[in-house]
Each structure stands twice: as structure tokens, then as C-alpha cells.
Symmetry: C2
Subunit: 121 residues, 2 copies
DNA sequence: TTCATGTGTAAGTTGAGACTGACAGGTGAA
DNA sequence: TTCACCTGTCAGTCTCAACTTACACATGAA
């Protein structure tokens, strides 16, 4: 898995760092499932599950795809995306370094991207 | 770093998965600091910083120690604890497996430790 | 004594994320 | 037509972590 910047790393960590979402990952580890079935297995409401799946998808941990079953029903399947992140001080420092590089690339001069105040006071 | 059960893994991930705490780790990566100084550098209130440091310490990411400075002042120093966690599906499944083993060991018969309902309905 | 420095904590507010319930829409089968 | 499935989303509530303000208490130096 490629190196992430702080924002991506944070999205990833925040996504995994939640009990329900860990359970979702465990369940999806057994194979691809559609939303309603997954909700039933976990004993979780479907709208809630949607929120978690959305979060996991944004962080790149799961992939969703709408499929038509044999009998014509639409089923939203989710499968686990392969991920492997080494987490130590270096990972974090590297992410921070990437932020700087990102800012160099897309902004002209790294003017405050996340914090509107720029440098801390 | 040894294998963690779900609870420990969750504490770890939730601790790191927060922007402010990532900043704390980055700052501590440059060396040991005492709380007030760290608060100044990060532009964060001291009570707030305490909360974050507490969280990080419980997750085993930092270590705090009270020291007496030359001029007799008590300073609470924090330093980064070495940590290195590989995060992938196996890590998560292994954590879940450890939960079961833990339950075997300390309870008589794995009766619902986290979820009071036991098996999902 | 007063000031500037530090630790530690209690009490309150706030805001975001987690969660519920209800809806609108689609399909195929009885 | 009704039922049993499914998807997708809205509008709320609720809970808890995050955050602020304020305090009590030490120390050494001016």
C-alpha cells in the first residue's frame, strides 16, 4: 500500500478505529455481502450500516457495487479492499512530509489548506 | 509489538485517529517535552492537551513522568513510546481471535463480555 | 507579597458523529 | 393487489468526546 498523507492516514485510522466498523470488516472478511444481509448478520439498522460503509469506502477499505440478482432485484454488494498499513512514528512523519509536498504541488505557495489561520499563533 | 486483542487495537486506533493527537505525536517525535511547553508549541489549552495525552498514554503511545527541574519546579515530561503496528485484515481477525482466547482464560465460559446479547440475532 | 512559572482537576458548553424511525421507490411471486 | 424482498435518503434525537473557563495549589525570583 502506497504512502499516505495526513488527511488520508487520518481518514483511514478514524474509519478503522470504531467497534462497529471493525465488526463490519470482520464480517466482510468471510466474503462479499449485500447491505441488507450484512445488516441482519450484525444486528444493525440499515441506514446506520450505510453510514459506516460510506465511511469505510471513502477511506478505501471497502468497495461497493450495485448488482442485479437473477430474479431482477438490485443488490448492493460490498467487499473488502486489500489494505496493509504499517503504523509507527515514521509512517506519521512521512505523512506529514507528504502534506508539505502536496501543498507545493497544487497551491502556488502552500497557503493554509486545512487551517485558515496558516501558521499557529 | 505484540498482538493485540480487539479492545487494545481499538484503543490504539482511536487514539491515533485524531488530528490533534497526530500533531502531538509529531511534536514528541522531536524529543521529550513537558506539558506546558508542548501546549505552547501546539497552540492548545493545557487541560485539553492533558485529555489527549491521557488517551495516548492509555493506548500505550506515550509515557509520562513527573520530574523535578533544577529550580525545584515539577515538570510533567512526556515521551513517545516505541510502537509499530501492522494493520491489515489479518491483524483484525487475529485481534478477534484473541478476544475469544481471553474470554476462555478469565471468564468461565466466554459469556458476553462486550455485547450483552451474546450471539447476534 | 506579588509575579511568572509549573501541575492537576472540576464544571460547564458545544458540536460531530452515531443512531432511530419513517418514508419513497423498485422487483418478482402468490 | 398484496406481500416480501431489496435500495436509497431525510429528518430527527441522543450521546460522548472534544473543548473552554475557572479554580486550587505548588515553586523560585523580584
Amino acid at each position: 500500500m502506497q504512502a499516505m498523507n495526513s488527511e488520508e492516514l487520518l481518514a483511514f485510522l478514524a474509519a478503522v478505529g470504531h467497534a462497529q466498523r471493525l465488526r463490519i470488516i470482520k464480517e466482510l472478511a468471510t466474503g462479499t455481502l449485500y447491505v441488507s444481509e450484512l445488516a441482519r448478520r450484525l444486528g444493525v439498522s440499515r441506514p446506520l450500516l450505510y453510514m459506516h460503509l460510506e465511511r469505510l469506502e471513502k477511506a478505501g477499505l471497502v468497495i461497493g457495487r450495485l448488482e442485479l440478482s437473477d430474479d431482477g432485484k438490485a443488490l448492493k454488494y460490498f467487499e473488502l479492499a486489500p489494505f496493509d498499513v504499517q503504523l509507527n512514528v515514521d509512517t506519521i512523519l512521512t505523512a506529514a512530509r507528504l502534506d508539505g509536498a502536496d501543498a507545493q504541488r497544487d497551491g502556488s505557495g502552500e497557503a493554509g489548506k486545512h487551517s485558515p489561520k496558516g501558521t499557529p499563533q
